[in-house]
């Protein structure tokens, strides 16, 4: 394989890998591609209250299960004086609080932060139909059968049957007319639906959820029913007969297990309050991947201490600057003094802001050039001369800081962000160019360097680019692939289209 095709192959691999990883992080882990995106995080607080009777107390509450429509980012339990543990039972998590004896009203809090997850969670199919536990009176049974056959006539399959049934039950309950409801007094629409569905032989179960409404307090759990149809579970809202998980419900629990079991107390109640708050999408994504223990995130820059992370934030911008230099030198053909000096200047501009930075840079370099002009007449050895320039540059920086501070211009204090060795070398190189090629060349190269530095600065401080380089370091691979491809570019530079302009027609002819 020729070296050229190797480069292209590598470039394609890097490019695809970089884009792929970025998309994976964006799509699957939810890292936002743009800065400033936020996600709705719901804080749900469940409050369990009861009257203790003095006997040993055991409170057991079911906790949200996996397969819910929300991901739990954080949870906290608070019940002073109670022993606490979490128990797994048949795949269900239950929180257990215990105490030897207590009297009077008791309160236990369980608080959790949840965020919507969009992945459709595949749920286990229903277990073998258990033997019916229904105990119906003859009157109830005949009324129910009557009702069911009517519904059956006006439906096509299990799903339409269930929806139709829920709607009928709802309207007849509201209008209070003598229908099937009258035989099943004290049964809610969802309870009744489950009985009827079981009679009909359609696998179904109760789903308990919490209604998400900002600032809502003291609300009861919401009951939904879920039927199994053609290989998947479908939730039906008994309130309005709509299918699908309602957007504003946090599915807490599936199946008819009790929400709360209490021993040693009476008048138990579970009430929920919900608050919505917006959190940066990145924080949410990070929390989520912590919970899901994504190895990809575990071995990323996020696992470093915050201090090193912010150092990396700066370092990861350097490739962007390098890309700007590569583009401007190879494609445009600008001359700069020192290949990567513009990047270092651009990095300094980030701290100083470009205008102050330019002013500082120009004044130090011009004063430095003037002093360097004198040094060149003193017959110094090169290393000593450059060291002298470094010392002079430091002196100038100190002088500038003090004077400008006294004058009340605090911006000039940022002078310390300029890498002084770079300044010294710039002065040295410029003064040689001045001596050998004249001031015009100094202007050309100096101007070119500053222009590239400014462009690199604007690229590096672009909020979107900053966000992407830090949060998707995989994009380094993409930049690398672009650099590789540009490294093979053998076309004309933009400046050559000017340089060779007269050759196009041929001057002789």
């Amino acid at each position: 394989m020729s070296s050229r095709s190797q480069v292209y192959l590598l470039a394609v691999i890097f490019f695809a890998l970089g884009i792929g990883l970025t998309l994976y992080k964006n799509q699957s882990l939810g890292f936002p591609l743009l800065p400033g995106q936020s996600e709705e995080v719901w804080t749900v607080e469940s409050k369990v209250t009861f009257e203790a009777t003095g006997d040993p107390i055991t409170v057991s509450m079911i906790l949200p299960q996996t397969g819910s429509n929300m991901t739990v980012l954080a949870e906290s339990f608070s019940a002073p004086n109670y022993g606490f543990r979490v128990k797994e039972e048949n795949g269900q998590r239950r929180a257990i609080w215990t105490q030897r004896s207590a009297q009077g009203p008791q309160t236990i809090y369980y608080k959790l932060d949840v965020v919507k997850n969009d992945e459709p969670s595949s749920l286990a199919p229903p277990s073998q139909q258990k033997p019916s536990s229904l105990t119906l009176t003859a009157a109830q049974e005949s009324r129910a059968k009557d009702f069911l056959s009517k519904i059956k006539a006006s439906s096509a399959d299990n799903l339409s049957f269930s929806i139709e049934m829920v709607n009928q039950l709802k309207t007849s309950k509201e209008s209070n007319n003598r229908s099937v409801n009258s035989e099943f007094k004290k049964k809610s629409v969802s309870e009744l639906s489950l009985i009827l569905l079981e009679m009909e032989g359609i696998p179904s179960r109760l789903v308990r959820g919490v209604s998400l409404e900002d600032g809502r307090r003291k609300q009861k759990a919401v009951d939904l029913i879920e039927i199994y149809n053609e290989g998947q579970w479908i939730i039906i809202n008994p309130k309005n007969g709509l299918e699908g998980t309602p957007d504003d419900v946090f599915v807490w629990q599936r199946g008819g297990v009790s929400l709360l079991d209490l021993e040693g107390g009476v008048k138990s109640k579970v009430r929920f309050s919900t608050i919505e708050n917006d959190q940066p999408a990145k924080t949410v994504a990070l929390d989520k991947s912590n919970i899901e223990q994504s190895a990809f995130i575990d071995f990323s820059i996020y696992s470093l201490p915050t201090e090193s992370q912010s150092a990396f934030k700066r370092i990861l911008l350097v490739p962007i600057g390098a890309l700007v230099v590569v583009l401007l030198r190879i494609i445009v053909g600008l001359k700069t003094s020192g290949t990567f000096m513009p990047i270092l200047i651009a990095l300094a501009f980030i701290d100083t802001t470009p205008l102050t930075g330019l002013a500082i840079f120009l004044s130090i370099v011009s004063v430095g050039l003037w002093i360097r002009g004198y040094l060149s007449r003193m017959n110094l050895l090169l290393v000593a001369r450059i060291s002298a320039v470094v010392i002079i540059v430091i002196g100038l920086m100190g002088f500038m800081s003090v004077i400008s501070y006294k004058l009340g211009m605090t911006q000039a204090l940022t002078v310390t962000f300029f890498p002084m060795i770079i300044l010294a070398w710039t002065i040295e190189r410029m003064s040689i160019i001045w001596e050998e090629d004249g001031p015009k060349e100094v202007m050309m190269q100096g101007g070119g360097s500053l222009f590239v530095a400014l462009l690199a600065y604007f690229a590096m401080t672009n909020p979107v680019i900053e966000h992407i380089t830090f949060n998707f370091p995989e994009m380094l691979l993409v930049i690398l692939s672009i650099t590789l491809v540009i490294g093979q570019y053998n076309g004309y530079r933009l400046t050559e289209l000017y340089r060779f302009r007269d050759l196009a027609k041929g001057q002789k002819g």
Binding site: L497, A504, Q507
Partner: protein
């Protein structure tokens, strides 16, 4: 129009910097051969081995303490050139054409003292003019006594012939004449005049200064159309032999013509510039392709010159 369509340049076979770097220098010039051309002392050594004529080396200074002996080194020498062995782009070259006692004179007539020369040498040694600032050696060369034919075409400097040699075939040539604007230097981007030379005859084709066509030398007023490079039949095999000497596939050699010694190789360049295309009003690509695709490989310099005479004549 300020910019020209790339397709037009392509049609004329003009190559740009990127193409030169990627397709020719990187491909044909082995990195490990660079020292041969980048260090002029080594170039001289190799040239001697291959019987290639070069300006005579008078002396060289490698250490700062040797500078003290400058007076001794220069006893009885009135004309010489001091240059850094690893200088790039003609930097750091000091030409002395006359001497009166302890006062030396540059071609412009400017006086230079012993101290000035010592400082210049000290700068050279500490690497001021060399690539990457490496410490360097200062070399003293005999001043070329340039052929009077060039007198009308040069101002305060020695004109030299730049020849592009590709895989040993001389493919394009130009004469570089210094001007007042270029301060006696022969670099085109500093304002020197580039004169395209016909490979077959050694006669001038075309002259440019600062990218523009000119008829006469701006300082001396001589018409370039009269120009004929002397010893042309000598120059071609000399430049072709630089291929064997350096092993580099794409090079530019700089040749000066001494009144008494004839053609001498001044230096060899591994990264020759592209301005030669402007001076010849022709792109390099066609000739490069010709050599790449059709020219016979592994032949002697003489045979290659014959091939070049046949194929690269401009008419």
């Amino acid at each position: 129009m300020l910019f020209v369509k790339p397709s037009l340049l392509k049609e004329r076979g003009i190559i740009g910097m990127n193409r030169r770097n990627v397709d020719y220098i990187a491909r044909y010039n082995d990195r490990k051969l660079y020292p041969i051309v980048d260090n002029k002392l080594i170039t001289k050594e190799y040239a001697k081995k291959h019987n290639i004529a070069v300006p005579e080396l008078i002396n060289s200074i490698q250490y700062q303490f040797e500078i003290k002996q400058l007076e001794k080194i220069l006893t009885g020498i009135d004309k010489f050139v001091v240059k850094p062995a690893q200088g790039a782009g003609g930097k750091g070259i000091l030409v002395i054409t006359d001497r009166k006692g302890d006062i030396f004179y540059k071609p412009s007539g400017k006086e230079v003292t012993f101290d000035d020369i010592k400082r210049h040498i000290s700068n050279i040694l500490s690497g001021l003019h060399s690539l990457g600032g490496k410490t360097d050696v200062a070399m003293f060369e005999k001043l070329v006594d340039f052929d009077p034919v060039f007198e009308p075409y040069s101002y305060e400097g020695v004109p030299d012939v730049r020849m592009i040699v590709f895989q040993g075939y001389p493919i394009m040539a130009m004469l570089r004449c210094s001007t007042h604007e270029s301060d006696g230097k022969a670099n085109l981007h500093q304002g020197a005049v580039g004169v395209g030379i016909d490979i077959k005859t050694g006669r001038s084709l075309f002259a440019v200064q600062d990218g523009r066509m000119i008829e006469k030398h701006p300082d001396t007023g001589s018409a370039f159309s009269e120009l004929q490079v002397p010893h042309w039949e000598e120059i071609l095999p000399l430049s072709a032999a630089c291929y064997e000497m350096t092993g580099m596939g794409y090079l530019g050699c700089d040749i000066v013509i001494d009144k008494n010694l004839g053609a001498l190789i001044l230096e060899v360049n591994a990264r020759p510039g592209l301005a030669i295309q402007i001076a010849n009003d022709e792109g390099l690509l066609k000739r490069l392709k010709m050599v790449e695709e059709h020219a016979p490989k592994s032949t002697s310099p003489e045979e290659r010159v014959k091939y070049s005479l046949e194929h690269f004549a401009t008419d």
